[in-house]
């Protein structure tokens, strides 16, 4: 029946009523309220940050600074960790007598897991930057500014905060959608949340970026985040138009802007620490597990792989699996190693890195560090590397996120949809990157 009424009266009768009420308030206000509120410094700052035209460009610029910081300033710290761990790897290889155990410790633990831990600094730096942005009160402004556009594009304004949280990890991001009242808005936000590049994908970007993008590494990583946001918005628009369940405008929302505050050193560091520690815990458990699996599959059948003095990766179970799925990925320019890394990334995105680290560690006899090894191996060109990054961004959320999506939507239908559309979109986008880049003459 509401459709009929809207049809008769025109879409926005509700808005007309609200406007009239506000107009009445404006009439009443001068008669009951005297005195003017002086501008505070907070108001001044808001003038620029919330400005119709400058608000979003400033947001994008700050985001860029965040990434330069995350990537370029953390780089030597990552080097430090990797140097240290590879030394340990060498020592253990030499000192453990049992060959299989030696390989496990040197290549699996120090090579694979160590490879992942080498990406700890960017994660900490990212969280540090985010904590500063959040504690200063800026993020609420960013949410407000982005909301204006989001509302026009069909996403509920309250979506931005869960999406921002999704940048840390998609799981709390999905759970944060509980603040959205309308179920349709909520599910839509949940569906696009995984497109927010979570911190687990960062190691993959850093790996590929450092290996093949050279000086453009930070730019490549930044564009992944921007790509995620753009795709999220596009998908939301698309779903709203195409899927009947989502039809209709989202309800507007009111956001209270907190006062600006100078972020304290202690507060910021403790935020950063909290989130960084989560990564460490994850590393110690799921990622470690995944790496063990990868190590195992790439080292066995033992005799076939360790033939004499050579390490014949091609004979391993992993290679069999990889070669099997490789054809799907060939148009995108990924070889079987990339394919298999993506396959295991289903468990946790960091395992994509762990897989490469283990593989190269094994192949190079444990002395190779993963970034130069990847660069030298020539598996990725800058273009296909970028496509790979995009694929990692989009394809499917990690298994833990899928579980949370299922819990929050209480529906297998939506969960499966989330997985499937992710796969399709990832393939399409990666293909597009390779295709368009090819047109410009990139390889």
């Amino acid at each position: 029946m509401s459709e009929k009424i809207k049809e008769i009266l025109g879409e926005d009768a509700e808005v007309a009523f609200a406007e009239r009420r506000y107009a009445l308030i404006s009439e009443i206000l001068p008669r009951i309220l005297k005195g003017v509120r002086p501008l505070t410094r907070s108001d001044l700052l808001d003038k620029a940050l919330l400005n119709k035209y400058l608000g979003i460009p400033i947001f994008l610029a700050l985001w860029w600074a965040l990434f330069r910081f995350t990537f370029d300033v953390s780089a030597p710290f990552s080097d430090l960790i990797r140097m240290f761990l590879s030394k340990l790897g060498e020592i253990s290889r030499v000192s453990i007598s049992n060959q299989q155990l030696a390989s496990f410790v040197a290549d699996g633990v120090f090579g694979g897991l160590g490879g992942v831990l080498g990406f700890l600094p960017p994660i900490f730096f990212l969280f540090l930057g985010l904590a500063v942005l959040e504690d200063s009160g800026y993020l609420a402004r960013a949410a407000f500014v982005v909301d204006r556009i989001m509302y026009k594009l069909g996403l509920h304004g309250k979506s931005f905060i869960p999406m921002l949280i999704g940048f840390g990890c998609n799981i709390p991001g999905v759970m944060a959608t509980r603040t959205i009242d309308k179920e349709e808005d909520r599910i839509l936000t949940i569906l696009v949340n995984p497109l927010m590049s979570c911190s687990a994908r960062l190691p993959v970007y850093v790996l590929i970026g450092s290996a093949v993008l050279g000086g453009y590494a930070a730019a490549g990583i930044y564009s992944m985040y921007v790509l995620g946001i753009v795709l999220a918005v596009l998908m939301a628009l698309l779903f709203r138009r195409v899927i009947p369940y989502f039809k209709g405008k989202p309800s507007p929302f009111i956001l209270e802007l907190p006062m600006y505050a100078r972020p304290t050193l202690r507060g910021t560091f403790s935020h950063m620490w909290e989130r960084g520690v989560l990564f460490l815990k994850k590393a110690g458990t799921i990622i470690f597990l995944g790496i063990i699996v990868v190590w195992f599959l790439s080292s066995y059948p033992w005799e076939a792989v360790h033939h004499g003095d050579n390490f014949l990766l091609e004979n391993s179970y992993l290679a069999m699996l990889g070669k099997g799925i490789e054809p799907i990925f060939r148009p995108l320019g990924f070889n079987w190693m990339g394919a298999v890394a993506l396959f295991f990334g289903f468990i946790a995105k960091e395992i994509v890195v762990g897989t490469f680290a283990t593989l190269f560690g094994l192949a190079a006899g444990g002395t190779g560090e993963v970034i130069p090894a990847l660069r030298v191996s020539g598996i990725f060109t800058p273009l296909t590397g970028l496509a790979f990054m995009a694929f990692t961004l989009i394809y499917i959320p990690c298994i833990a996120t899928i579980a949370v999506i299922h819990r929050e939507t209480a529906s297998w239908g939506w969960t499966i949809f989330a997985v499937v559309y992710g796969l399709i979109l990832a393939y399409v986008v990666a293909l597009a990157i390779v295709g368009v880049g090819g047109l410009f003459g990139h390889v």
């Binding site: 400058l54 610029a61 860029w64 600074a65």
Partner: protein, 159 residues
């Protein structure tokens, strides 16, 4: 009013900075764009770094400084643009300084691994021309502006 005169000076200072940011930013941005579209050709004007997003950021900062124009007409509320502009200048200035530092640290680590120590990182590295990077100098140039703008907006509750 004395307050008014100081604000005018602030506005002019800000707008001048804005012009410089926009010019340098435009160069960084377009050379970055050119580089992206026709790979292999690296065009660099007068040592200005080629940086697509960095150039974009500079353009944004320039535009923010231009937001100070209404101050000349007496709209003191626009001082907010000056505050944000200097804040952004500081953020990027410090950022590039940190990157140069990180490059130095990286060179140190490499020297532990056996590579030769050089001072190259001071003028060439992840931040383009290192310490010669325009954003760093513009940051220093913006410091006095920041000082004055903060002083003006401190005690006075501006109308």
């Amino acid at each position: 009013m004395r307050l008014n005169r100081r604000n005018r000076q602030i506005a002019i200072y800000a707008i001048t900075l804005g012009v410089v940011y926009v010019i340098v930013g435009a160069v960084e941005f377009t050379s970055g764009l050119w580089n992206l579209v026709s790979p292999g050709i690296t065009v660099s004007f007068l040592g200005v770094p080629i940086d697509l997003f960095g150039g974009f950021a500079m353009l944004v900062m320039g535009a923010t400084y231009f937001g100070a124009v209404p101050i000349l007409k007496g709209k003191h509320g626009s001082l907010g643009f000056v505050l944000i502009g200097t804040l952004l200048s500081a953020i990027f200035g410090v950022l590039y300084l940190l990157i140069v530092g990180a490059d130095g640290f990286g060179t140190l680590l490499a020297s532990w691994e056996g590579e030769e120590w050089t001072w190259e990182w001071l003028t060439s590295g992840s931040a383009g021309p290192g310490l010669l990077r325009p954003e760093i100098w513009l940051f220093f140039a913006s410091l006095p502006l920041a000082y004055f703008a903060l002083r003006t907006t401190k005690k006075e509750r501006i109308q």
